[in-house]
């Protein structure tokens, strides 16, 4: 299967710059994150330990926080719990070396919004952080999603492109729904597997690619413009012309 369109990741950050707080005790990793977020067009502040991080998070107005789970002085989960108890609802992505199911569940219960296991690809982290930011102004309430000439009605479960009805399988519908909710943002394969199939493991074969290419066939076949783009080294993005 040939990907119809590819974009380099530097074109991604079109949602506007975000103010990101990184709480990470590994100096090198933190510096790298700061640099990479800056290159992606965002502003990133770094705190080297839980205490400083808590103080910054409590005082500043951040769009997203990236918090390392295991830190000296104060661990990530207790920082998150403390922030949540003070009414801070800023989306939090937890970074952790602990990646088992239980660890993830504990992390999300403590008030995290997403969980990423080390080591991770920055493209994965960036995609997740951008999705988290958008969640702050979520499309959750909308019943009809529109991207370009593509339209998805969440109530009637119908999909149209340029007024032409497109028939999708239930899973394809959920896949498209997720892509449309995050239209204009990079969505990684892992994010799709997690959100559409509710699985958190890496399948041996890239099953997601096949599903996406099938969906792409349905929503692009017979139309001039590509709408579901492959972002090289990162994932997919639904973007109207």
């Amino acid at each position: 299967m040939q990907m119809p369109a590819t974009q380099s990741s530097s074109e991604i950050a079109y949602n506007g710059p975000m103010k990101i707080l990184v709480i990470e005790d590994d100096r090198e990793a933190a510096d790298y994150l700061q640099k990479a977020f800056t290159e992606a067009g965002h502003t990133a502040h770094v705190a080297g330990d839980g205490e400083t991080g808590f103080a910054l998070a409590d005082a500043g107005d951040y769009d997203v926080m990236v918090i390392d789970r295991m830190m000296p002085r104060r661990d990530g989960l207790s920082v998150i719990a403390a922030l949540r108890s003070r009414g801070n609802t800023t989306p939090v992505l937890i970074l952790s070396a602990l990646g088992e199911v239980d660890d993830r569940v504990t992390g999300l219960r403590a008030g995290g919004d997403d969980y990423l296991t080390k080591p991770y690809a920055f493209s994965e982290l960036l995609a997740r952080v951008e999705v988290l930011n958008r969640r702050a102004s979520a499309k959750e309430a909308e019943t009809v999603y529109r991207v370009g000439d593509l339209e998805l009605d969440r109530l009637s479960h119908s999909v149209r492109r340029a007024a032409r009805e497109i028939t999708l399988q239930p899973r394809e519908f959920r896949l498209l729904e997720y892509l449309m909710r995050h239209a204009g943002q990079v969505v990684t394969r892992t994010m799709l597997l997690e959100n559409v199939w509710d699985y958190h493991f890496d399948p041996q074969t890239n099953v997601i690619d096949v599903h996406v290419s099938r969906l792409r066939g349905k929503i692009e076949k017979g139309f001039d413009k590509p709408i579901l783009h492959t972002v090289r080294g990162a994932g997919y993005m639904l973007k109207g012309g």
Binding site: E100, D102, T205
Partner: protein, 492 residues
Amino acid sequence: MALSVPAIMKTTAARLSALYFLLFALCAVLLVFYMTSLSASMLTGQTQDTINDEIIGLASAYKKGGLPLLVRVVENRSRQPGANLYLIADTNGQILTGNVQALEPGVIDTEGWTTEPFSYKRFGEGELDRLRSGTSDQTTSPSTGDNAVQAEGEKGHNAIALVLRLPNQMILLVGRDLGEPERFRAVIRRSLMLALGMMGLGGLLIWFFVGRAALKRIDSVSEASRRIMGGDLSGRLPVTGTGDEFDRLSENLNSMLARIATLNEGLKQVSDNIAHDLKTPLTRLRNRAEATLSGKQKTSDYRQALEGTIAESDQLIKTFNAILMISRLEAGYSSEHTNRVDLAAAVRDVVELYEPVAEEAGVSLDAEVNGAFAVDGNRELIGQALSNIVDNAIKYSTDATSKPAVRVALERTHGEIRLSVADNGQGIPDDADRARATERFVRLEKSRSQPGSGLGLSLAKAVMTFHYGRLDLLPGNPGLSVVMSFPTREDH
């Protein structure tokens, strides 16, 4: 054994021996006291009886022949070897006849039994054969045995006596030497002391042979465990075959060691495999980087090399995660996150996930699920195991002679829920290979050409172990059938 005394006392055997010894000694001392006092009162009684008999005899002689007969009888008896003490004195205490030459003063002043043993001197002292005391063998001190014991000495002899006044106010004394009973007491004391000593010796011997034997067994166990700790992991604790407590302990510890050795062997195998399967891609990574740095390259070459590097490291991370997960599952992953898992739904999910992949590979993927099946477990883990198996089945069914097909079936048989994934490919004809296929990093010859870490089935097996189930690889007809068997709970 070069142990100091405190060190010896630290051993259980020595402490027990000491305790027993003390108990024995206490009993022996009590026994000595009891025996001595018993024999003392017996001797007192006998001495008094003897003296009373003498008195009766003398009284009848006095009655018959008056004083002259009495004197004669006394003189006669006095000359007997080993005779008792006899003395007749006038009213002033002047000795008239008898075998006593001198007496402690005051002894004959009061009538009745002497209250204390007194010392005296016989006629012809020294020549008397005191050993042949003959007729009556025992004498007594009336209730004052202790004094009698200490009074035995150079001054003469000690005795007790009965003092009587004859009707004519003359004094008659009949007494008995205490030497004999004292010697008797000494014999008892000596034999009891000897018994005590033997008991002590016995205690020491018991400690030495029994305690030391136990101590030696424990020492050998300690020694063996030190050797094992020192790195000789194949070493085992000695078992004598008597089936005693020590043997049972050693056997249990040996089973434990065997279990540890198995785990250790597994660990060693994993580290060997890690060394191989992680070092190989790491070497590739490094070589690629080195090759890219050397010589003039175009920007696109650098880009390509870096992308290759990232892809390779992603694969490494996957492998690493799989290893960690298998270890955690085998070590008994926390069961916090288990709940009722609908296996039918899991099968549907995984089949639906892989259906496009199968279609693209020209493999037909079917699921046969009859009824609802629920097990206690973790949906995520079961999903991962099943998807690994289905993934394999799709890959290996492509070499089928007929139309490649993978069939997933869920059924209840023999008290188990069997989730089987069967393909119609070439399968694994060799039994040994089939058995080996679930081992970590084992990639059978024909799978070497396929991408994968060699951990898929190992992970599935670990997941099944975590669910108290089994993973079996059965020969299909043709192909391979991988069966996940879950224990059932009948109450749903």
